[in-house]
Amino acid sequence: MDWAVIQQSLPEFAKGFQLTLWLSASGIAGALVVGVVVSLLRYFQVPVLGRLSGAYVEVARNTPLLIQLFFLYYAFPVLGLKFSAATCGIIGLVFLGGAYMAEGFTGGFNGVSQTQVESGRALGMNQWQLARYVVLPQGLALSVPALAANVIFLIKETSIFSVIAIPELTNTALDLIGLYYRSNEYLLVLVVAYAIILIPLSLLLTWLERRVRYATFGD
């Protein structure tokens, strides 16, 4: 292990680190928005859109991100739609993540007990009021653990972006290895870099899960 090699590579990795963070944050933010909308369309069985949402979730979850990215990067330009590699990456992450997030939200919404929904109905609430005052506040709190797991999962998925040459962390490491053949050093930096992102985040999310659960249900 040559520490000088590691030291020299750090500026390069710092750029990849930033890019990984930026792609993850954008992708996850988009996935959360897509997820909550899709999940509400399904929960309230909105005609047509509810069905389409269901189909989208199945397609997105049952195809690999790798193939989705190839599709965006190589097939879409043939149809006249050309995006930069980074844009493809974010779109891919939102497409895949939106489906996973939708399933996470759905789990939370379905976890709201039927008797809670009934007591809302017994007070004269309509569909929209039930969503606003009963299903959303409790369902969102219940879905936090699943959403948190998806956040971690999606950040790790960004490593696949290396195949369409987005210079994020994994791509940076593979590039350096290709240039200088110092696999041990560069892979070590790579692992440490992901751990720096994921371990604190994971702890933070666990803390958040407990806080939200307590604030909503008191246990």
Binding site: L123, G124, Q138
Partner: protein
Amino acid sequence: METEILKVTHLNKFYGARQVLFDVNFTLHQGEVLTLLGPSGSGKSTLLRTLNGLEAFQAGTLTFNGQPVVADEAHWQKLRQKIGMVFQSYDLFPNLTVLENITLAPVKIQGRSAATVQAEALALLERVGLSAYAKAYPRELSGGQKQRIAIVRALALHPELMLFDEVTASLDPEMVRGVLEIIKQLSQEAAMTMIIVTHEMNFAAQIADRVLFLADGKIVEDTPGQQFFAQPQTQRAQEFLDSMDF
């Protein structure tokens, strides 16, 4: 007890092919307390739930305040503001304080002024002895306290009829009395019209103007309260009272 509040005629309910309520007929007058009694599975709770549209029925008619009930969700949403219901599991909203639980529906659904509703809610809390808990969350309350709040929450909508579905069934014995006292007060002081499903025979005997005794989804007996407990008209009801050690 002149004005008719609710009239049920030839009500039949099915779950798929299985019939659970058979030709139910009864009339409820203003201020009357009707108690539904019967063994488990006799259809008491199901009947109660059809009366505010939480369960659909397949044949028959309901008339509320002289108006035939249009049994679709939109109409039920309006009617439920006049027909309060309290459940066995109380089901206060865990993310809201006691006061918010009570004022949510009157303010957001009925569109009444927040200040008026709040003052009224505090007065109601006072009456059930829980004004100290206005800012508390449901998790800080005992089962009996939660159930009293659930009753107040339903009353805040100014219902004309209250439905109580085994409201003491999941309470510790020492909590039961406080909840039953409130229901009794509501009948005696406010002359509230109500239908009560309960397994508390002593309570039923004290409060019921009339008893509907159900078995296997049919009304077996429709008898004035005093008479039912002293001298039921049917063998079936006598056996039921014996089994309850009454």
